[in-house]
């Protein structure tokens, strides 16, 4: 082995190891992000109850704003960190939950409902957000716990199920699901872009129309 061979081997080791470490860290952080998202969404009645007890309007406003900012930024972070599920090379190499890409699409759906609806004041929108979060969490946690975290101890039929739920041991399904989720993302992204272009960034379409009339 020449010096150059050794150099090249170390370089590829650093790059491949670093990449897998980064993806592994993101994959390890995602369950925490998902749990925090669920906790904050389901904790809404508790926050509202606390707001009612404030004697100062300032404190109530700040609590509500901090709550909303935290909750929504975590959802945005969850979507951003789930982006690796759309990369075929990553899902075929790393051990990731099989339906993680669909969970990310559900999370993006939550953002779309928040953009086009009003889940904090409209009951139907709130229910839709809750259902999407529940579906997304199930799509993430079931393959994560049974597959990624359970494939080493599973035996018999359970081992087959467990391996089926991990992307690296089921690459064809993983890539297929990734494409379906990418298509869902593209459609929802296009819907969001069209909505925002129509409203011109205003809070509602009607408002922008009336503004134009007024102008």
């Amino acid at each position: 082995m020449s010096v150059q061979d050794l150099t090249n081997a170390i370089i590829s080791g650093i790059n491949a190891g670093g990449e897998q470490f980064l993806e592994g860290t993101l994959a390890a952080a995602l369950p925490v992000i998902w749990l925090a998202i669920l906790g904050l969404h389901l904790g809404r009645p508790y926050i509202l109850d606390m707001i009612d007890r404030f004697t100062l309007r300032l404190g109530a406003d700040l609590l509500w704003l901090v709550y909303i900012a935290l909750r929504d930024l975590l959802i945005v972070s969850g979507v951003v960190m789930s982006f690796m599920f759309f990369f075929p090379d990553v899902v075929t190499t790393d051990q990731l939950p099989l339906t993680g890409a669909l969970a990310a699409a559900a999370l993006f759906g939550v953002l779309l409902v928040k953009l086009m609806g009003d889940p904090d004041h409209d009951l139907n929108d709130f229910r839709l957000v809750t259902v999407l979060l529940a579906v997304g969490a199930a799509l993430y946690f079931i393959p994560y716990v049974v597959g990624v975290q359970g494939n080493a101890i599973a035996a018999g039929a359970m081992a087959n199920i467990s391996n089926f739920l991990v992307t690296s041991s089921n690459p064809n399904w993983a890539v297929g699901i990734g494409y379906v989720a990418t298509a869902l993302f593209a459609i929802m992204g296009a819907v969001a872009a069209v909505y925002v272009v129509r409203t011109g960034g205003r809070a509602e379409i009607q408002e922008s129309a009336s503004t134009r009339k007024g102008a």
């Binding site: 081997a9 650093i14 900012a69 759309f86 090379d89 872009a193």
Partner: protein, 222 residues
């Protein structure tokens, strides 16, 4: 192999590997930054809806200020990190999306629209910025997902061959130079615009301070 050779190999590997690691980390984070940029820009109606419900002006101001700072800072950082698409050596040697420089150009155009027009008050300007951001994101995501990150998929090899910078270096460099000219033109236009504006503002201020200094003309007493 002597111990010195191994030491040299490790040193060189750390230097070259570290540099490649830095580039690949930037490339890996760019999709995340692009997504953040888009979501924060497109999320404006939701932010406005929340803002309207604030009972106090202070809360509304803090909310709006945080949103603006985050949105525009992420936009700027995404453009700054996209600068790797304008390094010919990296474009020729690393696997980057071939349309990455065009995506960065679109991002700069969106920034220029924000700098030259009041995007938060002017609906048309907001729409123009949105169109450029969506176009830039599409130019980035398409090759990133289906070419760079899909090298293992044989049926996508044709697409990967066309849209990966180091497999079609001639086209990649041509796109890079064209985009770089675009970036130079827009940056030049921004510089000229800012200096004209600054001159005008300074002159106005100077004239106002001169007027304050000059004593009023004596009014003849009848």
């Amino acid at each position: 192999m002597k111990p010195d050779d191994i030491a040299n190999a490790i040193t060189q590997a750390l230097i070259q590997g570290g540099s490649q690691w830095m580039i690949s980390t930037i490339v890996a984070f760019l999709p995340a930054l692009w997504t953040m940029t888009l979501m924060l820009h497109l999320g404006r109606p939701y932010v406005l809806r929340t803002l309207r419900r604030c009972g106090l002006r202070l809360g509304a101001d803090v909310w709006w200020m945080s949103y603006l700072l985050m949105r525009d800072a992420v936009l700027l950082i995404t453009f700054a990190l996209s600068w790797i698409f304008f390094s010919p050596n990296i474009v020729a040697n690393a696997a980057l999306p071939i349309t990455g420089p065009l995506a960065a150009l679109c991002l700069l155009i969106a920034l220029a629209v924000k700098l030259s027009r009041r995007v938060d008050d002017d609906v048309t300007a907001y729409r123009v910025a949105t169109v450029f951001l969506v176009l830039g994101a599409t130019l980035y995501y398409g090759p990133q997902v289906f070419a760079i990150e899909a090298a293992s998929q044989t049926y996508l090899s044709g697409f990967g061959q066309i849209f990966t910078s180091n497999s079609d270096v001639g086209v990649a460099l041509a796109i890079m130079w064209v985009s770089l000219v675009g970036v130079a033109i827009i940056a030049g236009w921004l510089f000229v615009r800012v200096s004209i504006n600054a001159n005008r503002t300074m002159q106005r201020r100077h004239a106002a301070s001169q007027a304050r200094r000059t004593p009023p003309e004596a009014v003849p007493v009848p």
